[in-house]
Symmetry: C2
Subunit: 407 residues, 2 copies
């Protein structure tokens, strides 16, 4: 039984240009941490990610949701978590502050993730193992499919899960091999040209075959020059992703993307405002076969549904510490499976939680095991930091979701 709940506001300044992009020049990687203290002595830990200022607001909102879990048994909670998620996310007064977005939804992510962590700890297994072992029905009971009725009914979701049961045994072998990573840290926005080139060489030497450069400069020539520079340093066979962090207008994006074509980007990420479904549709159509990667700032399944319906997203970057936690992440992954679009999460959690979720996505849903973003910051703050060898995530074995911080 959950005896009491608490939240913590933890912030980690990075410094020296790390984490910088076209809009976030001086981010402070921060977590709104929810802890569920069980009478078994176990503590479930859940995270939502922010960039510093306002992290306290997310904690306060998480307190409100978490209070409703007091006195409950985690197995009972998770047996119908989809219903609880619906109730919490539609709480009649709090809902006005979203709905299903912003501070309140980040808070719900933190609380939801704490529930999944406690659940896995109580069962004594890593979260990926718990999830892949759930029956299709038990899994669906953890999800809220409301507002998806036009694309994914419960029956359709069930059929999708059952169809993908075949081939699981083979896909499960990935837990021995490890899940591939890509390096996001070679080209932070404020890094000098020399530092970027050096980082590219280091990443290739470490075994990474995919890496990301931050673009979205006020000066498009800088973006184009640096993109070409990374291609030259990395060679033709490395996948290079370009991330504009929403800094282009649609007319700018149309122009710059066409000029970036010849350096052969694997994707272009967040070219413009994350709410602008139609602009992304127009851009994707214009720059095909170059693909867009979208979702870092998309707060809920409804907007992801629109992105998938317009077929503008070549990759979906849903983040379980941005949407309403593991539950909504899985719902969105099911939608992606239906639409045949790979899920490549943004990792506000530094990959700690997502290393579990991408294993589940591949093994249980049959999503492609493409690669998972790797951000090397904050490792020293996690009790069980991710382990990357030769550019590959080593499968976590500790019980839970690997989100315990040393605090």
């Amino acid at each position: 039984m959950i005896q009491h709940t608490s939240t913590k506001d933890v912030r980690y300044p990075l410094g020296q240009g790390a984490g910088s992009d076209a809009i976030h020049r001086d981010p402070i990687y921060s977590y709104a941490v929810t802890q569920l203290h069980d009478d078994s002595g176990l503590t479930g830990t859940g995270l939502a990610f922010t960039l510093g200022e306002g992290n306290d607001l997310v904690c306060k909102a998480a307190d409100f949701y978490a209070a409703q879990l007091k006195g409950k048994d985690i197995e009972e909670v998770m047996a119908s978590f989809g219903h609880l998620f619906y109730q919490l996310s539609n709480e009649q007064q709090f809902r006005w502050l979203g709905p299903h977005k912003g501070v309140v939804h980040l808070a719900l992510a933190s609380v939801t993730n704490a529930c999944y962590d406690l659940w896995a700890k109580k069962r004594g297994v890593p979260l990926w193992k718990l999830l892949i072992d759930l029956s299709p029905e038990a899994l669906l009971n953890t999800l809220d499919l409301s507002y998806l009725e036009d694309e994914l009914t419960r029956e359709e979701a069930l059929a999708l899960l059952k169809e993908n049961h075949a081939g699981r045994a083979i896909r499960e072998q990935i837990t021995a091999a490890g899940y591939p990573g890509y390096d996001t840290s070679i080209g932070w926005f404020n890094y000098s040209d020399d530092k970027v080139k050096e980082n590219v060489k280091k990443a290739v030497a470490e075994g990474f075959t995919a890496m990301k450069l931050k673009v979205g400069s006020a000066d498009p020539e800088r973006d184009i020059r640096r993109a070409n520079m990374v291609r030259e340093a990395a060679g033709d066979y490395v996948k290079i992703m370009l991330d504009a962090n929403q800094q282009w207008t649609l007319p700018q994006a149309l122009e710059i993307c066409s000029r970036l074509r010849h350096m052969n980007p694997y994707w272009i990420e967040e070219p413009t405002h994350p709410d602008d479904v139609l602009a992304h549709h127009q851009l994707a159509t214009a720059i095909a076969p170059i693909k867009l990667a979208l979702g870092e700032h998309v707060p809920n399944r409804v907007i992801f549904k629109n992105y998938l319906q317009t077929k503008c997203a070549g990759f979906i970057q849903v983040d379980a510490v941005r949407v309403g936690g593991v539950s909504e992440f899985i719902t969105i992954s099911l939608l992606c499976r239906k639409f045949g679009v790979p899920v490549v999460p943004h990792v506000g959690d530094m990959g700690q939680l997502h290393q579990h979720l991408v294993l589940f996505n591949h093994i249980a849903l049959g999503n492609e095991a493409l690669f998972l973003e790797h951000i090397p910051h904050l490792q020293q703050h996690f009790r069980h930091p991710v382990s990357i060898r030769g550019g590959v995530y080593q499968t976590p074995q500790e019980p839970g979701s690997s989100c315990d911080l040393i605090i």
Copy 2:
């Protein structure tokens, strides 16, 4: 000069079913109030509206924005408010909590609205008068048109304002006649059938020719029965609007709206999730010529742009205490003017601020003077409550935006 700033969390329980709809069974009408204390002795007051829980979070976020106004002269602030709005709404760490939505954007609304209020008070005129007397260039300098470049450049906006200069003198006569209202309070969700019928008769007797019924029940038969009942009580010539408060799934909406067709609703409001642009497009196409009214929960100009681009909204219900305040309200009104869609605001402010804005929209932008929502609650808490006679808003004459509360 703004000497200091403060925020207040004020909440007014309504009781007895007032304010209730399909999702909000027990709302507490609340304002996150920002006050800018000028060394002239004047105080600018701005509001953001919530339904109770979490109003304190909006206040805390508003404190963060308001602090950046300290020491500034309001005329200087407003001379380039569009730039300040861009800066505040893209503040590099806070932005993560939106962007441009949820708690942080409600907070920005409160601060923005306080700026406009102080500006009008300092000039000693009601806000509507200040706004209609601005030159097109001065008005545009108060707006942030970023992410609208594909539909509304600064040049296009300027041309639109200049085109609509003709005919202003005639349209300005509305300030003598008053702006028509419609009655939102005849059919709150929890009101009994008898109370609704009684309210319809009272509203007609008071001179209202348009009124709204809350639908979106779990039982569609209740919705249909009550809609027919209101039509019968009101007669054929009263405009009746139906408001589902997002409670239908798309398949449900498609079915129920077709069954509501024969009672001839003037619009159907918020049929499903406010983020679901494509569902609204599909529904609007299916139920034409019945029109949808949308926007109460839409947080920013980018999403409104998508709604207008898909042509699914027959009426745009932007609320200046939900989007980023007066500035973004005007930006969205300009977009609506371009697309030829009437602006009929949702009035989280109980009409206090919007009575100014619809006069501006009609006189300066040439938007149709359709009608403005009237909610009779909270009148006793405002220093200068709206005055409705014969169903018509009397033009406010006091300096400012009529948002001062007795607190």
